[in-house]
Amino acid sequence: MGKQLTNRGKEVDRSPMTFLESIYLWNIIKGMGITISHLFKKKATINYPEQKRSFSKVFRGLHVLNRDAEGRENCTACGLCAVACPAEAITMEAAERLPGEEHLYREEKYAAKYEINMLRCIFCGLCEEACPKDAIYLSETFAPANYSRKGFIYKKEDLVIPHPIHEKEAYEKARGGRVEINKKD
């Protein structure tokens, strides 16, 4: 026998069956004992949409583009997240803030286009670590199923968190105890 990785490995018994074994009956009864014992065990599954399992504290789900307390987008389209991304899932286009848009974007530069390809993303969280402006977070939800590949390329509209003042409820829900506002400031 070759080297064993664990001490749980068992050599397969290939000796010919005895008469008792060849009737199968005893082994069948043993197997049925095992299955019937599972009838009384705790079920491993839950009623999913009604009950949900809580996520781990460090679970990394879908991305969220953050806003500050006044509802201005944090992202400055510096591109550090795209550089940090090992799967190259993030693309963005920067634009300059025009006068009169101060209530929309926190700084002079903002992301006009921001896309994450959820089929490429490996949810490693490096973008979150790389971001100097607290603009991107990984939330507690995961990407739902979709009919086409196109549906998995999340646009900026899909990613930006709801407005904290105008859509307070949706904002709280999207935050989910995870996104802290202006943590690094």
Binding site: Y24, L25, I28, G31, I36, K41, T45
Partner: protein, 350 residues
């Protein structure tokens, strides 16, 4: 006119009974599909269907409705008439076998008329069931051949050879029981057991052989080779769709129900309640009939559960193992059982 002299009450009584039994067969078969999924889930630490209605009890209705509204496809190269005849045969043979089973203690009306809860108490009794079971092969064979598909044909031939082979030990195991009862009438078999105790006590080996053969005759796991998904693409009903497929699947469950009823009747005393003499309770005839019927039904449900339990425990046999088990183990065992029973009967009656 001779035709008019037929007892109309007799006809009505039998018609009601037949309708009731067919309805019951369908109902039980429907809920066996539900139980199958539930038991499978429970034995695998899951929950099973629980969306349609409370605890998912409307699931069989949803499944049936789905089958009804599915598109019906008849392959171009198939033999159309036989293609339709196949599932019809499977269904008819499954339903007809229930005629000779005594479902409950006979009901005695106020006028003193005895109404047996049995469609036909023919002299052949249990042999009639055998005849119908042996004809049941044709549903599979015709369907498999008419599909004009290699896999269907292979599965049909497998199924037929399996059923023909397992009929032999089944019959022999039953013969030992018939030695003891001395009659083929189902009502007589039950009444002998009511007096002397259940046959399973005297014939444990015969019971095990009969049970194994019943599994094989119903094409249940571990003998579901005709339906082997991974070798034969779903077996003899591969080309079937819509309610024709539903008929095949349904016929299997009705067969299970009927074979459970026959095992309960022949080996577990039918509608007899063990350890008590229910005749001394002095209940009214209606309640006696009702209680005996529910006793039989609980025995049947027990067998159905065991069928499901076995299905979700034991993997499928290989075909050579199946034939080995049938011809080299069960038939000799059944023969030995038969000879021993005959010898003991002779010795006791000397």
């Amino acid at each position: 006119m001779y035709l008019l002299s037929i007892d109309l009450w007799f006809l009505l009584e039998k018609a009601l009974l037949i309708g009731g039994i067919i309805g019951l067969s369908f109902f039980i078969a429907m809920y066996t599909t539900y139980a199958e999924r539930k038991v499978a889930a429970w034995l695998q630490d899951r929950r099973g269907p629980n969306r349609a209605g409370p605890f998912g009890i409307f699931q069989p209705l949803a499944d049936g409705g789905k089958l009804f509204f599915k598109e019906e496809i008849i392959p171009l190269a198939s033999n159309k008439f036989l293609f339709i005849l196949g599932p019809a045969m499977a269904m008819i043979t499954a339903l007809v076998a229930s005629t000779v089973i005594p479902w409950a203690a006979p009901f005695i009306t106020k006028g003193g008329n005895v109404i047996p809860m049995q469609v036909a108490d023919v002299d052949m009794g249990i042999l009639l069931v055998f005849g119908i079971v042996s004809v049941g092969v044709y549903g599979i064979m015709i369907g498999g051949w008419a599909s004009n598909n290699k896999f269907s044909l292979m599965a049909a031939i497998r199924g037929a050879s399996q059923m023909v082979s397992y009929e032999l030990p089944m019959g022999m195991a039953l013969l030992a029981v018939l030695f003891m009862t001395g009659s083929l009438k189902m009502s007589e078999i039950v009444s002998v057991q009511v007096q002397n105790g259940w046959n399973v006590i005297y014939q444990p080996l015969g019971f095990i052989i009969f049970f194994i053969c019943a599994l094989a005759e119903c094409n249940r796991t571990p003998f579901d080779l005709p339906e082997a998904e991974n070798e034969l693409n779903f077996g003899y009903h591969q080309e079937y769709s819509s309610m024709k497929l539903g008929f095949y699947l349904f016929a299997e469950y009705i067969n299970m129900f009927i074979s459970a009823a026959i095992m309960a009747t022949v080996f577990l005393g039918g509608y007899d309640i063990p350890f008590v003499n229910e005749a001394s309770w002095g209940l009214s005839s209606f309640w006696m009939t009702f209680i005996s019927f529910s006793v039989l039904m609980s025995k049947i449900c027990f067998f159905l559960f065991v069928f499901l339990w076995i299905r979700w425990t034991i993997p499928r046999f290989r075909f050579d193992q199946l034939m080995d088990l049938g011809w080299k183990k069960l038939i000799p065992l059944a023969l030995i059982n038969m000879i021993i029973t005959a010898a003991v009967m002779l010795w006791l009656n000397k």
